[in-house]
């Protein structure tokens, strides 16, 4: 059905999407495909419409024209096949870690004992055991984003939408998160859409990097690192291909940064 790539199985397809806010043209005729089971980064200058694109895919915003397909079905609103991880965590400050992680399931009507059992498993997975009954204001930024991640994982959506999830945590935690993310992509059979400002981060974690141009945005380039994906996490940053790609992306983006 899709004449561009019949051989690749795409979890998400963005077709000719335009988005105008009142008189700001954020996205113009943007098309992009997200292969299943892979992590695709969306990289671009500030204000180019990365968040807008992600929210359209999430079904939180309507495109002015064009369509989004998730598992070959058009998106009309939010759905259980997608889960969002927010840049500012978006945790309920009046609820404990346990309730926050289980909140996605709570909204989907899963019974309390069942959803708490699921939540506890993911709280353990992200390393927050013993903090189940803490409140968000008692946690560090890194721990809060772990809660946000556990919440998104516990609804078991096939597609994870992450909007600069690591930008509000410190550098060391961020590196740990990036390594954890690589494991996650390898072990969970999920599709990751990952918005970031950091070129190094994008190259480090991605199977595919989509570079957007400034408003009105289209995809200017798609880069698929191939050589170092299979390497040990610790060696990636020394790989010549890694360094090459980082340089190449910076070369094409630097003209847009004032």
């Amino acid at each position: 059905m899709n004449n561009i790539s019949t051989d690749v199985d795409n979890a998400v397809t963005v077709r000719n999407v335009c988005k105008n806010y009142d008189n700001v043209e954020a996205l113009r005729d943007l098309s992009l495909e997200f292969p299943r089971g892979q992590l695709t980064s969306i990289l671009g200058p500030s204000g180019c419409g990365k968040t807008t694109l992600l929210k359209i895919i999430a079904g939180l915003l309507k495109p002015t024209s064009g369509e989004i397909l998730v598992n070959n079905k058009p998106v009309t609103g939010p759905g259980p096949d997608r889960a969002f991880v927010f840049q500012d965590f978006a945790l309920l400050p009046w609820a404990t870690v346990l309730r926050n992680v289980a909140f996605g399931l709570e909204l989907r009507g899963v019974a309390k004992s069942e959803r708490e059992a699921i939540a506890e498993k993911y709280i353990k997975d992200v390393g927050l055991t013993d903090f189940e009954h803490s409140y968000p204001h008692e946690l560090s930024g890194g721990m809060r984003q772990r809660v946000g991640l556990a919440r998104a994982l516990s609804v078991d959506a096939q597609v994870l939408l992450m909007d600069e999830p690591f930008s509000a945590v410190d550098e060391q935690t961020r590196r740990k998160f990036q390594e954890d993310l690589l494991d996650l992509v390898k072990n969970e059979n999920k599709t990751f859409l990952f918005v970031t400002h950091s070129i190094e981060e994008a190259v480090y974690v991605s199977d595919q990097i989509a570079i957007l141009l400034p408003r009105p945005s289209r995809v200017s380039e798609i880069i698929r690192p191939s050589g170092f994906r299979e390497k040990e996490a610790l060696n990636i940053r020394r790989d010549p291909e890694y360094l090459d790609i980082v340089d190449r992306i910076w070369a094409s983006l630097r003209t847009y940064v004032e």
Binding site: G59, P78, P80, F84, F86, D88, A90, P93, W94
Partner: protein
């Protein structure tokens, strides 16, 4: 407050004022201000009489029914205004107008519309309390972090879920602040209602005592009223502090 290095419990300054009152009262400067001790003696005397208990019941009844409606109507209306631009633009001018309007002037109209009974008094009470509750609930919703709402929607929240699980809780600190001020205004409303509409409850006692120059009785009832509204306000302030841990970061 600290005196000679000792930490005095809150409200200690009240004792000082009470002492001053007692002294001025004992000096018999004016009939208007009897000694505080005499007022308390009077309070003990009338506190157990049928007339007083009946007045307390009538006032309490009108007060609680009035504030109940103010909260049950005011909170959802305020939340709706915060959520919806159109509703906000239609209602906001009216809410602002009523908040600062001299509501006492409206009481005669209420009497014409709703008669000379309890109903009018309750409506007066509600009218005094509701506007600040609406405005505060609205303000509470307006400061909600957008991404909390988007989070709920992205996980498939129905409008009802969003209302009860996000908007209400996120606005709760402001809502409680509004309810606290609303209660204080309702005390004013219920007494004005009882004075102007039908002379019942504490309003009737005030009328009776002041027109007969029974100042001790007059002050005794006033002190009871002050104490009750003070306790209610403090309870609500306590509730407010319970949610303040998240008020700073929503």
């Amino acid at each position: 407050m600290k005196v000679f290095g000792y930490r005095l419990p809150g409200m200690s300054s009240l004792l000082l004022w009470a002492l001053l009152w007692e002294i001025v009262g004992q000096m018999e400067l004016t009939f208007f201000l009897p000694p505080l001790s005499a007022i308390f003696v009077t309070l003990m005397e009338i506190g157990t009489t049928k007339v007083f208990i009946k007045a307390l019941q009538e006032t309490g009844h009108a007060f609680f029914v009035g504030t109940f409606f103010a909260i049950v109507i005011g909170v959802p209306v305020g939340i709706m205004m915060g959520k919806n631009r159109l509703i906000d633009e239609i209602l906001l001018p009216w809410v602002n107008m009523f908040l600062s309007a001299p509501l006492t002037a409206l009481v005669p109209v209420l009497m014409v519309l709703f008669g000379f009974g309890l109903k009018s008094i309750i409506i007066t009470t509600t009218l005094f309390a509701i506007w600040i509750i609406v405005l505060n609930s609205r303000a509470g919703v307006l400061q909600i972090n957008r991404s909390l709402v988007e989070m709920a929607l992205s996980f498939g929240a129905s409008p009802k879920d969003a209302f009860f699980k996000i908007y209400f809780w996120a606005a709760l600190p402001e809502i409680l602040g509004g309810v606290r001020i609303g209660f204080i205004r309702a005390v004013k409303g219920v007494i004005i209602g009882q004075l102007l509409i039908s002379v019942v409850g504490f309003g009737a006692l005030f009328e009776l005592y002041s027109s007969n120059f029974l100042m001790k009785h007059f002050w005794a009832v006033l002190i009871v009223l002050f104490t009750i509204s003070f306790i209610i306000a403090e309870c609500l302030a306590w509730l407010e502090r319970r949610v303040s841990y998240y008020a700073a970061q929503r």
